[in-house]
Amino acid sequence: MKIKILGTGCPNCKVLEKNTKDAVEELKIKAEIEKVTDITKIMEYGIMSIPALVIDEKVVSYGKVLSSNEIKKLLK
C-alpha cells in the first residue's frame, strides 16, 4: 500500500502526517508513506485545500486533518 500526504509544510500537514504514521503502526500494515510538498505535484490531484491524504493514488480526504482513528477506517 502506498500512502501520500499532500501538503506544503503547514502545521496541519504535519499533524496529518503524524496521525497517519500512528494509524499505520497501530494496524501493523505494510505501507509506504510519502510526503509530497511540491505544489505542482499536489495540484495534479485536483485538490484545492490542503492537507490531503492519498491512498494508492486515490484522494481519500482533503482540507481536513483526520484523526488516526479516522485514518484507520480508511486503511482497512
Partner: protein
C-alpha cells in the same frame, strides 16, 4: 431590552452578590465587564461559527471553482466576495486555491475578490464585533469588507495583470477531477459542530486575554487618552493604524476587545475599522505565501490596492460617524 439582558442580570448577580464585589469600585466593574463580555462572545461565536460552517458544507473550494469559472467581470467579483464571507481562510491553502482557480479559468480579478474577502470577512471577527460593538457595526464591517473585495478585485481584473502571475501556474494540469461525495444532513451538522469546537478552542484563549486587557483599559485608562494622538483631526492616524495592524496577524480575536476599549478612550470608529481590517486581511505570512504564485510586481500592486481600499473605508467612516 436587549437580547443579552438576562445574561446581564445573571452576571450582575454573580459579581455583586455571590462574589460580593462593590459595583462602585473600578475592580468590581472591571470583573463584571470581563465575565459578561466573555460569556456573551462565547455564545455569539458558537452561533455564528455554526451557521457559517453549515453553509460552508455546501461550498467546498472545488465547487466554488466551478461556480466562479462560469462568471465574468463584475457579477463574478460580487459572487466571489459573497462566497468569501463564509469561507475560512488558512493562508496555507492560498496557493492551491489560487492555482486551482486560475487553472479552471476563473478570471484573475474574480480570484482576487475571493482571496481578499475570505480572510477579511471571517466569522470570528463578525461574532466579536457583534458582541462588543453591536450588530450595526458588525454589519457595517461586513458590507464595507464586501465592497473592498468586489471593487479591488474588479479593478485588478481590469489592469490585465496575468503576465505577472508566476509562469509555472499556467503550466499546471490537473489530472484527476474530484467527485464530491453526497453528504447527509446529519453529517453536515456533525461537521459544523466539530468546526465550532475546533475554532473556539483555537481562538478563545486570545479572546480572554483581549477582554482582560480591554477590561483594564476600560477601568483604568484616562478618558480621551487617544483623542489627541489618534483623533479625527489627525489624518495620519488611519494609515499608521493599518501599518501597525500588518504584523498582528492571527490575533484578531484578541485585538478586537482591546480596540473596543480604545474606542471608549477616543479612537475614532473609522480608524478602528481600518486597523481591524488590516489585522485580518494584510499579513506577513500571506505575503510570503502568495509570493509563490505572484511575481513581486503583482504582489506589491495587490497589497497596495487592498491597503488603499482599507484606508478609504477608514476615512469614510471617520467622516460619516
Amino acid at each position: 431590552m436587549g437580547l443579552f439582558y438576562p445574561l446581564e442580570l445573571f452576571v450582575n448577580w454573580l459579581v455583586y452578590s455571590v462574589f460580593n464585589l462593590s459595583s462602585k469600585t473600578l475592580f468590581g466593574e472591571a470583573i463584571n465587564f470581563f465575565i459578561y463580555d466573555s460569556i456573551k462572545i462565547l455564545i455569539l461565536l458558537f452561533v455564528i461559527i455554526f451557521i457559517v460552517s453549515y453553509i460552508r458544507t455546501y461550498l467546498a473550494p472545488e465547487k466554488v471553482k466551478k461556480i466562479l469559472s462560469k462568471k465574468f467581470e463584475f457579477f463574478g467579483n460580487m459572487t466571489a466576495s459573497s462566497i468569501g464571507i463564509v469561507t475560512p481562510f488558512c493562508s496555507c491553502s492560498a496557493v492551491p486555491l489560487f492555482i486551482g482557480f486560475v487553472e479552471s479559468g476563473v478570471p484573475l480579478g474574480v480570484t482576487f475578490s475571493y482571496l481578499i474577502s475570505a480572510p477579511l470577512i471571517n466569522e470570528v471577527a463578525l461574532a466579536m464585533l457583534w458582541g462588543l460593538f453591536g450588530w450595526k457595526i458588525a454589519l457595517i464591517y461586513l458590507v464595507s469588507g464586501w465592497i473592498i473585495a468586489t471593487f479591488v478585485g474588479y479593478l485588478l481584473g481590469k489592469l490585465k495583470l496575468e503576465k505577472y502571475v508566476e509562469d509555472y501556474v499556467y503550466k499546471i494540469k490537473i489530472k484527476q477531477e474530484l467527485k464530491e461525495k453526497k453528504k447527509l444532513q446529519k453529517e453536515r451538522i456533525k461537521e459544523s459542530l466539530s468546526e465550532v469546537k475546533s475554532i473556539i478552542k483555537k481562538v478563545f484563549p486570545y479572546v480572554l486575554i483581549g477582554i482582560g486587557i480591554g477590561a483594564v483599559i476600560h477601568g483604568y485608562a484616562p478618558e480621551n487618552l487617544l483623542t489627541q494622538i489618534a483623533g479625527k483631526g489627525n489624518w495620519f492616524a488611519v494609515p499608521i493604524a493599518i501599518l501597525i495592524g500588518i504584523p498582528l496577524y492571527s490575533n484578531a480575536a484578541g485585538i478586537i476587545p482591546i480596540v473596543s476599549s480604545l474606542i471608549e478612550k477616543g479612537l475614532p470608529l473609522g480608524t478602528a475599522l481600518a486597523f481591524m481590517m488590516s489585522v485580518v486581511a494584510l499579513s506577513l505570512p500571506e505575503i510570503i505565501i502568495l509570493r509563490k504564485v505572484l511575481k513581486p510586481k503583482l504582489l506589491v500592486i495587490y497589497f497596495s490596492v487592498v491597503g488603499l481600499g482599507i484606508i478609504f473605508i477608514g476615512y469614510l467612516f471617520n467622516i460619516l460617524i
